[in-house]
Symmetry: C2
Subunit: 282 residues, 2 copies
């Protein structure tokens, strides 16, 4: 009944006796509660957020629905253990294309312990985060028959330079995604996936407006997931592209200040996607 998800592009993965999330056929995604502070912090966030009346509906839809916790046999065989029961964002998609972008130049919060801070800072400097304000943590794209599914190495992707990251964002909406640098991404889904009144760019702009105002939460080390279904797209179906925020183990109280770290990174991502939608396709 419970199985390892087919389409995970970032985060800890189950399989091979490791601890990771599970899914079932009811459309739920079960994320094991990390045993340290992170688990309790993520659970506390979901509990507070799901009943927080200050969150408008048009923003709430960008967050996975929370269905409480559930005791499940952990994927690493360690026995019954608590899992967050969440909305499975990709279950309804046949050929889901997914991109996970961890937002913010800084993944650590001001009050963080010194060793944690230095570890995060090192990774922010080694990856694209510091320079770009975000890093792509992973992605998969359903290409054409020749290219198949393109799921590049995560450690390479997250260290991408400015130009490489821009190229990856193009490949995400192309029918010919490939690591081969001779193949120029055709960006043939850019206008339908990124563009349009309900496209990813429009959704990111709505999210941005909220981040310019809200001083409730600061989202450190949190990702924007972008999902679209290649199959629906080719058949001209209505099920459009979607963004969802995920990973809330490092959310802290905003204390009356906007989340300038998240907002800055989000604006950087918006600028790059906007360039793809409106700019020349070179």
């Amino acid at each position: 009944m419970f199985k390892v998800p087919d389409h995970q592009v970032a985060g800890h993965q189950a399989g091979g006796g490791k601890l990771g999330p599970l899914v079932d056929d009811s459309g739920h995604f079960y994320k094991p509660l990390q045993s340290d502070q992170r688990g309790s912090q993520e659970l506390a966030f979901y509990r507070a957020f799901s009943t927080d009346t200050r969150i408008p509906d048009h923003i709430r839809k960008f967050f996975p629905v929370f269905h409480g916790t559930k005791l499940l046999e952990a994927s690493d065989g360690s026995g019954l253990s608590p899992h967050l029961a969440l909305e499975d964002i990709v279950s309804s998609r046949i050929n889901p294309c997914i991109l996970d972008a961890k937002i913010g130049a800084r993944t650590w919060y001001p009050q963080a312990a010194e060793d944690y801070l230095q570890r995060c800072l090192k990774k922010d400097r080694e990856t694209a985060s510091l320079e770009l304000g975000f890093r792509i943590s992973g992605l998969q794209v359903h290409g054409n028959k020749e290219t198949g599914v393109w799921k590049p190495d995560r450690t390479v992707i997250q260290r991408g330079s400015v130009d490489e990251t821009k190229l990856t964002l193009r490949k995400f909406v192309s029918s010919n995604p490939s690591t081969d640098s001779d193949i120029k991404p055709d960006c043939c889904f850019a206008s339908t996936v990124y563009g349009g009144p309900n496209g990813i760019l429009a959704q990111l702009l709505v999210l941005k407006s909220w981040f310019e105002e809200q001083t409730i939460y600061h989202f450190y080390s949190c990702s924007v997931m972008m999902v679209y279904d290649k199959e629906s797209l080719l058949q001209g179906k209505k099920q459009g592209a979607q963004i969802k925020l995920v990973d809330f183990a490092h959310v802290i109280d905003g204390k009356g200040v906007i989340d300038h770290n998240f907002l800055g990174g989000l604006c950087s991502l918006i600028r790059m996607i906007s360039e793809i939608v409106t700019g020349p396709s070179t």
Copy 2:
């Protein structure tokens, strides 16, 4: 002919045999070129920026006019030395009220040397920068006859908590500014200085729009100066409040990415000022 400026709230100050900027009665402000890399970097910025045709006029006006360099007797008595000749932003004001806000949670750039980075990081953590996305580097306010000029200790101001910084931003537009915590700032100039179609908030929003787009420069450790003249205000004169960007010793090439660090901090400042203009005066 050359003298120490009357109204400096941040940065190195001349006087007492120290090196600092000078002014003359022609409306020029002479900033000594720092002898290390910072001096040459700031000069390079002014030279590049003043001839950069990509900068629209409505943005250029937020930068001091650059009049080249001039050899002057340095204020520390060390003899003739090169100075940047800039527009003196406060010379035309009788009783100038000035606030200097250093923008960005991070004052160091990704390529910075390790010791410089650690020194800046330490200061960003000790001051309000990391938490607020900016820190007030200094200010002076012309109060009423009883309070006189309020020019609080810079080291105290820049370490202000969220609430203290919000309070300082209120005091900047009050007729009764004071360090005394029993005196509640009256915010009686908030609507004319911060608000209105040409007020500081409107100017900051224009600047923000540019930062959402521009990928030319990254402004590290740069300040937004806000200036208004108490005298003109009381007499109902037209000379309104003004913002200017200052301090460009750490400007680097944007390399196709927006300045998400500056933009995030700017949005945080905008949010706080907006709260003063539109919110309850408590």
